[in-house]
């Protein structure tokens, strides 16, 4: 069971990191590396990334090193028979997901600054 979960988590992490990279590339094309990024009312840059990696993401261009770190954290997919230990790689993949999600979220603030304040949008999300 654990092997199945770890393997699914690792596959999921690949997808989310890939999504973050795509989002970032699009944002770079649109706004350029010097575009400031951050969350409103948050003093700690992108706080998960800053708290765990110590990287201050202030501009779009700063995300590149975080994405590189995410990729370095992604383990190779597990083998079916005689797999190498998977718990720690799965946990690392989880951390990569954490950072990638935060990047996606920060880019969302660029794309839709009123995402969480726009009542219509909120209702749309809540109603599925």
């Amino acid at each position: 069971m654990s092997k199945i979960i770890a393997s699914a988590a690792i596959k999921g992490a690949y997808k989310i990191v890939e999504r973050a990279e795509k989002k970032w590339q699009e944002a770079m094309d649109r706004w350029g590396a010097n575009e400031p990024v951050g969350f409103p009312n948050t003093a700690y840059y992108l706080p998960v990334i800053y708290g765990i990696l110590g990287i201050k993401v202030e501009k779009l261009g700063d995300m590149e090193q975080v994405l590189k770190r995410c990729k370095s954290l992604l383990p190779p997919p597990g083998r079916e028979n005689c797999p190498l230990p998977y718990l720690a790689p799965a946990l690392d993949a989880g951390m990569a997901t954490f950072f990638a999600e935060e990047i996606i979220e920060a880019i969302r603030y660029l794309e839709q600054p009123d995402f969480y304040t726009n009542r219509k949008m909120l209702m749309k999300i809540l109603s599925g």
């Binding site: 069971m1 654990s2 765990i52 005689c82 797999p83 190498l84 718990l87 720690a88 946990l91 951390m95």
Partner: protein, 655 residues
């Protein structure tokens, strides 16, 4: 057929024992049949330390010894049976500690040469470990280059061998309580060589004739091995060649290939073999092999050199100590290159029956009849290329009498201390906490280090595998090194799938969660120092006492034969670990000496020796000891979980 089956549990080995018989080749299995061990020497009752002897002082046969009999049991010089048994025992410690430590010295010399830029081809691969060692040795890091730091580390490491006073530096890595105990008992080693030399002095005729005092020096020299020479070897090898990480490997004679040049690397040091791994991958070497009709170059390891290159490169293992002759019997080994330790002198004789070239490489270990290509650290690549070329050139000379057994088994290896730490929490929460928690909650009952050799006096691999299966069935996580690890690997115990097949429910659940086998391959025999570090990490993580002797752990070398095994066992005992040996016990000629090692040592060191040749009984001695430690820690019973309400909390705060 039936006879060969009594000699090994490994079917590949059985086939080759039979082929050897058919080919008229004499192996260790035959020699063990025709030559029985000397019953007096076996129990430590023969002293040949001077020209008046050898003096034999055996126990009377078939009756209790009377005080009068005992008085007669003396050498010409007056040495009692106790003195003689203790002398013999600690000389074994000295032999083992010298072997490991001289290996460590060789690594330190190479390390220093690399740091000084005098050994082309080598580099510092593990920077993090270099800096960790700098902290341990008190070397300034600042903004100095790795090379400058490494020079200081190399000089300090090398000086450890010849140090005359103070303490071996790595003692500081042990739990504080253990360090204090060593000082109180007077067994904190001053320098590595000094303690070994002092054993040779004290066991000379007419010097130390108090068995307790002799055995104390044995402990001191063994600690100089485990926490000195061996630890230096492991740490510096990791910095130079990389700290092992989990790696998939294969083991057994089936890894030899019919259509490729087979080069076996045998012995204990990874210094040259690291370069052979590189040389064998060079395009010009592969081309040369093809020009001789081979499809490639197949490297395989044997004994602890094998463990070293498996852990770092995934190079397959051909087998353990008792398979070295059998590998040649396949007729498919084009060259066997050897470095130091556990290399049988019979190899060149057996090689003559086939086509194999036996190549010695160490100036310390030459064998009559073998060719010698000396390993020169300043020109290592050239030595490595010459060796690989010799194997390639020999490929066309293979005869037709070739039979490679098909047996090969998957294994996962590479469980260094650093790796275990990582595996339990990932990069961001690496720690031993989950291991300790699972020991405390009882899923894992305890930890056992099962290590050591093969011994032709017992059925090859059988004692190891039977003991290990019994341990894991009882939820004991097993960590392994050396030839013992290879025995378990061949039996399929080093795959994650082995957990659900062989381990108890609790251990299996932990293994499944982490994705590890129930039996962990920790490395070569100098890498037993990794087990000391892992045990210390368990103590430091908390909840399992404040010394190694408090931990629910035990050690064993069920098929031991070398002096190194005795030194390893002794440093485990001296570090607080209950340790069981099988096959025979070299102090049985003296009840006092044996009792001292088996009983009184526990009061002195918290760890003690035991002897039990039956692997199931030995496993249960270990389990009983582990249960005793669990009880002392108060973790022998599941604790009732109580949900505290506010009132109860106030009561707690008031108390």
């Amino acid at each position: 057929m039936a006879e060969a089956e009594t000699k090994s549990i490994d079917s590949a080995s059985i086939k080759m024992i039979e082929k050897a018989a058919a080919d008229g080749v004499n192996t260790a299995f035959d020699r063990a049949e025709t030559m029985k061990p000397c019953p007096i020497g076996m129990v430590g009752s023969c002293c040949k330390h001077c020209g008046m002897g050898p003096c034999r002082v055996p126990l009377p046969k078939g009756k209790e010894e009377t005080p009068e009999d005992k008085l007669k049991r003396r050498g010409i010089c007056g040495a009692t049976a106790e003195t003689i048994a203790a002398r013999n025992f600690i000389r074994m410690v000295a032999g083992g500690a010298a072997a490991h430590s001289d290996h460590g010295r060789g690594v330190a010399e190479l390390f220093l040469a690399v740091a000084r830029g005098e050994a082309p081809g080598y580099e510092i691969k593990d920077e993090q470990k270099l800096l960790q060692l700098a902290l341990d040795f008190g070397v300034t890091i600042g903004d100095r280059s790795n090379q400058e730091i490494a020079i200081d580390i190399g000089e300090i490491a090398l000086a450890e061998f010849g140090k005359q006073k103070g303490e071996v530096l790595f003692l500081r890595r042990a739990p504080l309580k253990r360090q204090e105990l060593w000082r109180q008992q007077g067994v904190a080693p001053r320098g590595i060589d000094r303690e070994i030399v002092e054993i040779m002095h004290r066991t000379h005729i007419g010097v130390d004739q108090d068995y307790r005092n002799l055995l104390r020096q044995g402990v001191r020299a063994s600690i100089a091995d485990g926490w000195g020479g061996s630890m230096i070897a492991t740490e510096l090898q990791d910095i130079l060649f990389g700290t092992p990480v989990p790696v998939l490997g294969k083991i057994n004679l089936g890894v030899l290939k019919r259509d490729e040049v087979n080069l076996i690397i045998h012995g204990h040091e990874p210094l040259l073999s690291e370069m052979i791994v590189v040389a064998a991958q060079e395009p010009q070497m592969i081309e040369l092999a093809k020009s001789k009709g081979a499809n490639g170059i197949n490297l395989a390891g044997m004994c602890c050199t094998a463990n070293e290159i498996l852990m770092r490169h995934g190079v397959p293992l051909a087998g353990n100590f008792l398979q070295q002759e059998l590998a040649l019997v396949t007729g498919a080994v084009d060259a066997m290159v050897v470095d130091i330790q556990c290399i049988m002198q019979s190899l060149p004789d057996i090689a003559q029956c086939y086509h194999t070239k036996i190549i010695t490489t160490s100036p310390k270990a030459k064998i009559s009849g073998a060719m010698h290509i000396e390993f020169d650290e300043h020109n290592a690549m050239e030595s490595a290329r010459a060796i690989v070329k010799t194997a390639i050139d020999n490929f066309p000379k293979r005869g037709s009498n070739i039979d490679i057994p098909e047996e090969q088994t998957d294994l996962v290896a590479g469980f260094s201390h650093e790796t275990i730490n990582y595996l339990l929490g990932g990069l961001f929460r690496a720690s031993y906490r989950p291991l300790n928690d699972n020991i405390i909650n009882g899923r894992i009952r305890g930890l056992a280090g099962v290590v050591g050799c093969n011994n032709a006096r017992v059925k090859h691999d059988d004692i190891h595998v039977t003991m290990i299966k019994e341990l894991i069935k009882n939820d004991i996580l097993v960590v392994q090194t050396g030839c013992s690890a290879m025995a378990a690997a061949k039996a399929g115990l080093m795959t994650p799938e082995a957990a659900s097949k062989y381990a108890g429910e609790g251990l299996a659940s932990v293994c499944e969660t982490v994705g590890i086998p129930p039996v962990l391959h920790v490395g070569s025999c100098v890498d037993n120092s990794r087990i000391l570090i892992a045990a210390t990490a368990m103590v430091k993580d908390g909840g399992l006492g404040d010394d190694i002797s408090d931990l629910p752990v035990a050690g064993a070398a069920p098929e031991w034969m070398s002096e190194k095994a005795i030194s390893i066992g002794q440093y485990f005992v001296g570090s607080g670990v209950f340790t069981v040996f099988g096959v025979n016990w070299p102090t049985l000629g003296s009840k006092e000496v044996t009792d001292f090692l088996f009983k009184e040592f526990e009061d002195m060191y918290g760890g003690m020796w035991a002897f039990e040749p039956d692997p199931i009984k030995a496993a249960h001695l270990m389990i009983d000891h582990i249960d005793k430690k669990r009880k002392a820690l108060g973790i022998d019973k599941a604790r009732e979980r109580v949900l505290y309400d506010m009132e109860m909390r106030r009561e707690l705060a008031g108390a």
